[in-house]
Symmetry: C2
Subunit: 286 residues, 2 copies
Amino acid sequence: MALWFREEASPGHRLEWKVRRVLHSGRSAYQEITVVETEDFGPTLALDGIVQTTAKDEFIYHEMMALVPLTAHPAPERVLIIGGGDGGLAREVLRCPWVREVTLVEIDPEVVEVSKRFLPGHAVSFADPRLTVRFQDGARYLEELPAGEAFDVILVDSTDPEGEGPGRTLYAPPFRRQVLRALREGGLFVQQTGTPFYNPDTVREVSQDSLAVFPVVRVYWCVVPTYPGGLFTFLAAGRGTDPSQPRRPVTWETRWYSEAVHRASFVLPPLLADLVPRVVQVAQQR
Amino acid sequence: MALWFREEASPGHRLEWKVRRVLHSGRSAYQEITVVETEDFGPTLALDGIVQTTAKDEFIYHEMMALVPLTAHPAPERVLIIGGGDGGLAREVLRCPWVREVTLVEIDPEVVEVSKRFLPGHAVSFADPRLTVRFQDGARYLEELPAGEAFDVILVDSTDPEGEGPGRTLYAPPFRRQVLRALREGGLFVQQTGTPFYNPDTVREVSQDSLAVFPVVRVYWCVVPTYPGGLFTFLAAGRGTDPSQPRRPVTWETRWYSEAVHRASFVLPPLLADLVPRVVQVAQQR
């Protein structure tokens, strides 16, 4: 039997991966959760039909989202992850020996359950005693966060804002103000801003709106082979620390991240620079 | 009618683009030539079923292949393009006012004919009096090149070596020795080395084999959204000039290339660095 997983990247573009086995297929309270083992990328998690992470290429996204802020911040000890229920981002964060505590706030317990069963390479982080998992809406968690409970680094690893999934509120302006309130002095915030070839509005709007909230706003990029168009962006913002400069060495093996890649990832090709506010472009060209 | 163009990136991965119109479909003496107008990328040329170039994203490939060597070389006046029958690469080369003569050696006259009709944004270069077109096998052309007819920059813009198409001989060691012979002192050679997520052997073998021929061997990369996996590589080699350093300013508008992008494109993430010889890695880390 020839089984293929098909993602509709746009009304005019589809990506298809040959499936060896369907590992999980179900609907949680929040979304449709599918895990298929694909021929090219191994176990692959899709939410509402959109590929989120695969065993073979996840290291790029997770290394770049974790290690850029965690090497740029001078002393990041307390880290908050919103989303990231597969555990892959927490794994990269916990590789940094200087990180003392990680709180992971995932809205959907079934994403964590399914990842523990079918994405063991990602979910290995759930065994780390430095990690606390809470099943709660991330925006709500920040609203209710007691004063004095702030973080050095806040990472938002969620579904895209375009769909109907639970990621939507994490891209709204009120959420960013809560993030700022929850960041310690010098703190850094990183959020995925999608594939600019298919969704240029996400990085455009998020970088523009963030200027009204954060003293420092930057954009960086990498390549994720299983996302449409390959080109993929992140917002990095915060309270004064420049996220484009690594300050701590990564002494373990990485496959996409390096100090030189860290710096180069903030060099925006004109097509990307044109999507971000002028003040951000200029800051990154210095 | 819903018409889709499907490319088989690997036995386990397919890319599909919705087609508005089939502009051309035929077989030349060398290959199957298809031009479709896709919803997302406009006119799209495929050879033997593999997308070569599209109206919407071609600027990335062509800017990076042309402007890296043409700004790194101290005084490039004579340029040879092997392949490139769509005209897009010649267009970027001819944007450089310091280029005096371009010879384009394309094996398949029908690629040029079809491009003139259906890819006018690419084929605009054929009207430039500095361009001479020859319909000949590129390897044969170099073999027969009279001594004293050498070039400052040689660019090979061909189909991949993996298929059965006419690009194969352009990746064989004898061809590279002919390239070296046809390069003036300080000359630079750039060749596309494909998508390393799907064909890691191309960049691995070409960079390894090139060390036996060229005093300088480097690898750089960009993102081409319509190629599988997005990540795309080039070999840059030559007779002494370091291709990673831009020496001349580009004063016209570009959409991917910039001086900073030029430098950053030689920063290899570990997964790419691991594919190239150690001596190349080390040279690029300095």
